[in-house]
Subunit: 451 residues, 2 copies
Amino acid sequence: MADPNDPGLLTPPETSLLVDRYEITMARTFHRLGMNEPSVFELFVRRLPPHRDWLLVCGLGPTLRLIEGMRFGPGELEYLSTLGCDREFLSYLEGFRFSGDVDAIPEGTIAYANEPLIRVTAPRIEAQILETLLLNQVNFQTMIATKAARVVLAANGNGDSVVDFSPRRDHGVDAAMKAARASAVAGAGGTSNLAAAKRYGLLPVGTMAHSFVLSFPTEEEAFESFMRENPENALLLVDTYDTIEGVRRAIEVSRRTGVALNGIRIDSGDLAELARAARRLLDEAGLTDAKIVLSGDLEEHRIAEMCREGVPADLWGVGTELGTSRDAPVVDGVYKIVADLSGEAWRGVAKRSAAKETLPGAKQVFRRVEGGTMTEDVIGTADEELPGEPLLVPAMRGGEIVLAETLDEMRERTRQSLASLPDALRSAGPKPSYPVRHSERLTEAAHAAAL
Amino acid sequence: MADPNDPGLLTPPETSLLVDRYEITMARTFHRLGMNEPSVFELFVRRLPPHRDWLLVCGLGPTLRLIEGMRFGPGELEYLSTLGCDREFLSYLEGFRFSGDVDAIPEGTIAYANEPLIRVTAPRIEAQILETLLLNQVNFQTMIATKAARVVLAANGNGDSVVDFSPRRDHGVDAAMKAARASAVAGAGGTSNLAAAKRYGLLPVGTMAHSFVLSFPTEEEAFESFMRENPENALLLVDTYDTIEGVRRAIEVSRRTGVALNGIRIDSGDLAELARAARRLLDEAGLTDAKIVLSGDLEEHRIAEMCREGVPADLWGVGTELGTSRDAPVVDGVYKIVADLSGEAWRGVAKRSAAKETLPGAKQVFRRVEGGTMTEDVIGTADEELPGEPLLVPAMRGGEIVLAETLDEMRERTRQSLASLPDALRSAGPKPSYPVRHSERLTEAAHAAAL
């Protein structure tokens, strides 16, 4: 029954209906026509988002799980029957299991426009029906990981100093979970989000809010109560009234209570200036170990500037800008059929819509790295062997996941990926683009398809 | 057990851990100190997002359900115990039920900066612990509904012509569900998202994708197969190769098969020009009932322009721009304590952080409407009676939901809200701002708190 106030939080098998209606219409039509030949679909981004020079690939692991677990339960089938799906097709869906292969660029890899991030080889109906969920998950997570990686680079590559504070501005529950995970893949050191910390094994980070300070008659009483009750985590928010006075008060309360001050957080005002003044006061009081946490609309440009200027921050709490990728909230990846089996032979297919052309045939990306720096990517056909490292690797075979990495593996790949970026692509400002070209064989195939 | 590749799709009681760590730290501290007095928190937006002149409030219904159902199960409690929560506090959480009152501006109402959208009156710990989830849900849904309302206004107020095509670019599963719901609240006529259509009782809409056309040797064969198999929904995507040729082919196949052409979709190229040419061809062929669906990076400015120019579109498929509110992907609502019970009397509290001040005390918004047009909002204290309609109404009492509206009720409120906007605020361009002032009593309270 429809319920306009339902929380709308889906779990499998309900997630199989997170599908655009046309996927089902097409799938049903293919089914009636017996058109379920092996087909190849590729997910790629036509153009990089504005303000982005590369993407950090993310989201594969959870997405493979969703694909592997894709089922149509009684509730889903009943709903589909109201949309005119015939009995034979519903019966097909009832037994639906993804049985195909997935090749993908692993999480934590740098990628560029037009490079296939994921390639699905499966019976046409299976490959088609995945489209919406696959794009919904991979576009968004790649977007957040890319933003987070930019923030980590801005923080001099010190991911441990970057913490995800985004849940309150993320686009819903799933977004908050995946923003935390994507940040971690990109190298961030922790998250404020306890559900994500629990599920993904991340470091949960937190201090106190203004509401805590305001719940006491005076800031002093608030600090004292907090320190006595949280001696192991005595990190005080000092900007509720007057920041510098707040720092003095924190030092004084630490002295009086004998509880070591773990640190302070500043969330408003001129962060750079206030952090410097706070550092001086803390050091003068002998509290050289007390950390300074900065937060409040932080993003890569401000962090890079403060790092350049030597602002004494130990932790950057990055919320809204990170969790929504505010300056580039969309990675508009698409998922396109590129080949199908026609009789005995693969047939490369391509559309020619204005400014939305596709290249035919299954593809691979070959990356050349020289002296630890990536120098050129060549997009070739999947069956050619070119110099360089092939970026797409097997992720599913016959419907079974064959690539399941640990978070450490993904984070280490990110570290290496960021280290191998050409210097020009590591800063946040405008820069020349990275060379990506097509192999001769792919160029010929495209030319042949256009005839 | 942490699992880095888990799909991360939460349902209650797991959603109770979608909470910033500091909420738990503070709640535990309040608990130990016995500070659980009645308190008032308000959710409001300090500044309207860029490119926005008002907000369309949305997300209350599902959020109230999440609050009402908030529990801490064994898994959640076990995790919290690893974060240093003491036995007494865990035992408190084990019995947690929200027992407070919520007053809120109902969904589909226009609101402005600094107006409380939601006011929570509850024991301090309960009110505090809701913060993250409340903001995560209401900020995002209000953002999407606002964007969708702008799109509806651009389409000459004809919501039935606007369809949500956003799932592939939304920020995850929850975002896709709520984007569809928020679009519906704003007046949109349907969604491509079947899970949302099912759950929220929306019209599921769909056509075909390029992959369908490309799965056949020729466009003609694709069209013919689709029309024969989907005679009740024969809407053809005509821009895979050459759009005008595609329209001609659609007409020809309709003639040959005897299946009425429901319409065509154009997704690339100069949409205005192509739609006009398509309309001429369809009309010349006597297919005056065949609809024209336009899609492809549409947003309110392009739609308004095409409407002004009389472009013959029957349906606007709006995806990426709608589902991510691309030009303003953040509504940065905050949730602040404004009062607590101190002995027998309410104590208004306010923070004075630079550029982030708050106003003390529980508030109400009074809207004056003259001749069907809203003319001024006055933010007053909750206990004063001023001319105009009070916007906040009871939504929960003693932990029970007392405001549960149907989608029709919300949509009707949106219709009236948009109709009552001053003319200057109904177009998409820059404009003067709407007058919102503070009542004398609120001004005095703020002044007193600042002393």
